[in-house]
Symmetry: C3
Subunit: 108 residues, 3 copies
């Protein structure tokens, strides 16, 4: 069993959950915030069997899109350094995925 | 040190936290949502020493109950496929527990 | 790649995020609650390369402070046992950090 800790943009969550469920996968949704843009995003916990990992990653790739975030207000703008004007266009990836090994999985 | 990522029903959270604390265990609570039923549930992070794992799992088993969710509106009902009427009764388990190995634990 | 699951006090979050970003690190913020004091705190997910781990831990140590929580109402006070009066002062650490190994890291 592997646990995918998957950070996606809010706009892709409902389509991603729907396709995961249709394929019989399970997921838990946590509301989160990006550290840089300080905008809301979503962290999904997706527990999958090892042999399902590639199929789930393919579903995520198909559903989650890269987007350009215009007029972003990254965290630095309130800090010590004034930000460079070219930061007004930040590309946010479709998904950031950490796969960790699950030593023990229990359902009660 | 192991980290238990434990998804439980909201109704069991306060009893579970109380019994964990009484036994000297520590936990952090995150509000979450089930991917299928899209109902609120709770994800607990519980960091325990390896030799405490079985005792903590036993506490979770004693406290968290299976429940039938009637008239559920699983995610598919808004999707392409219309859901089968027998889905109006979904059994939700007491807890789903992922135990992952903690390579390094620091308290500052 | 290691994933640092880092629980900090709300008061230190914005300074910590700012210094992480300035040093080129990335983080995701999750609102959480302490199991004992039932007060809001913050759980950060920080994915770092293994050779960056010590530097990031040093940043966290510099930014996150221990604090005394006065007149706390730990969870037991609503439970079966009435709490001992000396619990009216609880020391909350600057950060609790679980470092887990990331078997596979993907950005889409
Ligand atoms: N220190 C920095 N310097 C310059 N540019 C920076 C930066 N931190 C982030 N960015 C840029 O801003 C985008 C949004 O980052 P944010 O932190 O708001 O939102 C992030 C964050 O919530 C999460 N994330 C990405 N990498 C992470 C990591 N290593 N650890 C934890 N969370 C991560 O995924 C979201 C999307 O990340 P993505 O990389 O696609 O897109 C990032 C990246 O293009
Ligand atoms: N694709 C699917 N097809 C048919 N039935 C499905 C399904 N996904 C979920 N169910 C059923 O619906 C119940 C509630 O799922 P939900 O996703 O809302 O709420 C879930 C979810 O938040 C979490 N969870 C369970 N397995 C997970 C996994 N492998 N990865 C991540 N989260 C999981 O634990 C909660 C309770 O799960 P539990 O298995 O006891 O109970 C599940 C299961 O009986
Ligand atoms: N069963 C118990 N008996 C006696 N005293 C107890 C206790 N549980 C907690 N405390 C004390 O209360 C402080 C706040 O705990 P809380 O659970 O609200 O907030 C905690 C919790 O959210 C998290 N945390 C700490 N250890 C954890 C673990 N092993 N697993 C999961 N979360 C943990 O970090 C926050 C700060 O923890 P820290 O240790 O610095 O500070 C703790 C500790 O000094």
């Amino acid at each position: 069993m592997k646990l995918l800790i998957t950070i996606v943009q809010d706009q892709d969550v409902s389509a991603l959950l729907e396709t995961l469920i249709e394929h019989g996968y399970r997921a838990t949704k946590l509301a989160s915030t990006g550290g840089f843009l300080r905008m809301g995003n979503t962290t999904l916990l997706i527990g999958v069997e090892e042999e399902e990992l590639d199929a789930v990653l393919a579903l995520i790739k198909r559903t989650c899109k890269k987007r350009e975030q215009l007029d972003s207000m990254p965290i630095l703008s309130f800090g010590r350094a004034s930000i460079d004007s070219h930061l007004d266009k930040v590309v946010v990836g479709g998904a950031t995925i950490f796969s960790v090994d699950v030593e023990r999985f229990e359902k009660i």
